[in-house]
């Protein structure tokens, strides 16, 4: 019964394709699969821990100041992941750039805090946040696979060629901003058509 709190975030309430939230990082950092993996880990960390804390403190945070409190919690966790990535993965840190600190204002995180964590038990929140994180990760990895495949002609993750170069002149537009809008638009249309999202 409880398990559906986890599974709903993957397809039915997929943050990107069903709720159309978190489109900013989805558009910006899906130029490579590696970026998407890094971003989905960072978002998962912030989303799960911030919502757990918010759920735990929901009893004594006054209603009127709840949003500033949520933001403080989220911002603290973002600072942690920001410093962590800076220290342990400087190249990825550089490539994610401004979009790492911008996780603070990622509407998926505040959205789940407001809609779910601030009303439900800690355990339910854990399931919900984990499900949404997995859904977000799958969505941006799917977008980034398509974009890197068509835009770079190969997929390289952590120095390993997952897919070797298969087209001699890839469509560079796909890893430029228009490619992000095209990919997401077509995926949204296909998923709606298939009745998935």
């Amino acid at each position: 019964m409880k398990l559906q709190e986890f599974t709903k975030g993957i397809v039915k309430k997929n943050a990107v394709f069903a709720l159309a939230l978190g489109l900013c990082p989805t558009l910006a950092i899906t130029t490579s699969v590696e970026n998407a993996l890094g971003m989905s880990l960072a978002v998962a960390f912030v989303l799960i821990f911030s919502n757990l804390i918010i759920s735990a403190v929901r009893g004594f945070v006054p209603q009127k100041v709840r949003i500033p409190c949520f933001i403080v919690i989220i911002a603290s966790l973002v600072t942690i992941i920001d410093l962590f990535m800076h220290g342990y993965s400087p190249t990825l840190y550089k490539r994610l750039g401004i979009f790492l600190p911008l996780i603070v204002v990622n509407c998926i995180i505040l959205g789940r805090a407001e809609a779910f964590a601030s009303k439900r038990s800690v355990f339910d929140t854990l399931l919900d946040a984990a499900g949404i994180s997995v859904g977000f990760a799958l969505a941006i990895i799917l977008v980034s696979v398509i974009r890197e495949l068509l835009g770079s002609g190969k997929i390289v993750v952590l120095g390993h060629e997952i897919v070797p170069a298969f087209i001699s002149s890839p469509a560079a537009a796909m890893i430029l901003p228009p490619g992000a809008f095209l990919t997401i638009g077509i995926l949204l249309a296909l998923l709606r058509r298939a009745g998935v999202a």
Binding site: S169, A171, A173, L182, G185
Partner: protein, 311 residues
């Protein structure tokens, strides 16, 4: 039998004519023949496959997109026009798959995804060209000189590099490097004049568009004739800025469109990255077209001016 016999009340239009979408589209194709033939004459028979591939890809994409959408496919000629225009604004050296991809992109994403002819915001041929330009900038800027296929820069590229102005006579006749169908202002003018005389396109758009570029360049101390004749300005002004779907329907709106696109061309040529800006200037003005049509709404006959201004 009195007056109460059958009277049919129907919505407008009430005046019927023999002019049809298909007729106009094929007239545009006919009007493009001088520029096409001149392009083949200038760059050799090797450009024919590019033109054929572009048209075939456009028509085939439209056919499959309509099949996918479950709508009946009508061969109204608009895809032929899109394919032909796209081919005419490609360099004569592109590999055969470039026009295929460009036309498919323009038709599928920029036309059919919006609902087909009449619903698209952007000119499909130009959108296809913009996608090609973004994706394969190296292939899209491989220019050759006429007749001998030696690589060279376009007149605008040479001007940008500080090599001075190409002869205005050469530009007018088209004896210069450039895209397949853009080089000869004369050949384009013949087709454009035909469309204007047939009243299929409005003279206001090309006149204000080319005129704005000339006047602004003159004010900026450039050679106005060179800038009016070089690059794709003539092709764009007569055949792309006059597209029925993506440009304003009002007369004043067309003037605003022409002036706006002209200003954008000057801005891009003077301070932009690439030396030519006709493609982007029309695409940007396409995006503004719904707004232009709103502000250029003609006064309803019998309504006071003051009243319309909203007091």
């Amino acid at each position: 039998m009195g007056l109460e016999t059958k009277r049919v009340v129907s919505p407008s239009p009430h005046v019927r004519d023999t002019v049809s979408v298909r007729g106009i589209m094929y007239s545009v194709v006919i009007a493009l023949i001088p520029a096409t033939v001149f392009g083949v004459h200038l760059f050799g028979l090797s450009v024919l496959p590019i033109i054929a591939a572009s048209i075939l890809s456009a028509v085939a994409t439209e056919f499959f997109a309509f099949k996918l959408m479950g709508k009946p496919f009508a061969m109204d000629g608009s895809a032929v026009v899109t394919g032909l225009i796209l081919a005419l604004c490609l360099p004569p050296t592109v590999p055969i798959w470039v026009p295929v991809v460009g036309a498919a992109f323009g038709i599928a994403i920029c036309k059919c995804a919006f609902g087909g002819l009449g619903h698209n915001i952007f000119n499909p041929a130009l959108a296809g060209r913009a996608f090609l330009m973004l994706s394969w900038p190296a292939l899209m800027t491989r220019w050759v000189s006429p007749f001998d296929a030696v690589s060279t820069a376009t007149p605008l590229g040479q001007w940008r590099a500080g090599a001075g102005y190409t002869s205005v006579v050469d530009l007018f006749l088209g004896n210069v490097s450039g895209s397949i169908g853009e080089t000869s202002a004369l050949a384009i003018l013949i087709g454009g004049a035909f469309l204007i005389l047939m009243r299929y396109i409005d003279w206001r758009t090309p006149l204000t568009y080319i005129g704005t570029v000339g006047v602004l360049m003159w004010v900026l101390g450039e050679n106005p004739l060179f800038h009016m004749l070089a690059g794709g300005l003539f092709l764009g002004a007569f055949f792309m800025a006059t597209d029925y779907v993506t440009t304003p329907i009002t007369k004043n709106g067309r003037i605003i469109f022409g002036i706006g696109a002209g200003i954008l061309v000057v801005v891009i040529r003077m301070i932009g990255g690439p030396p030519e800006g006709v493609c982007y200037s029309i695409l940007i003005m396409n995006a503004l077209t719904p707004l232009i049509d709103r502000i250029a709404k003609p006064r309803v006959y019998g309504v006071e001016r003051k009243f319309l201004r909203g007091r």
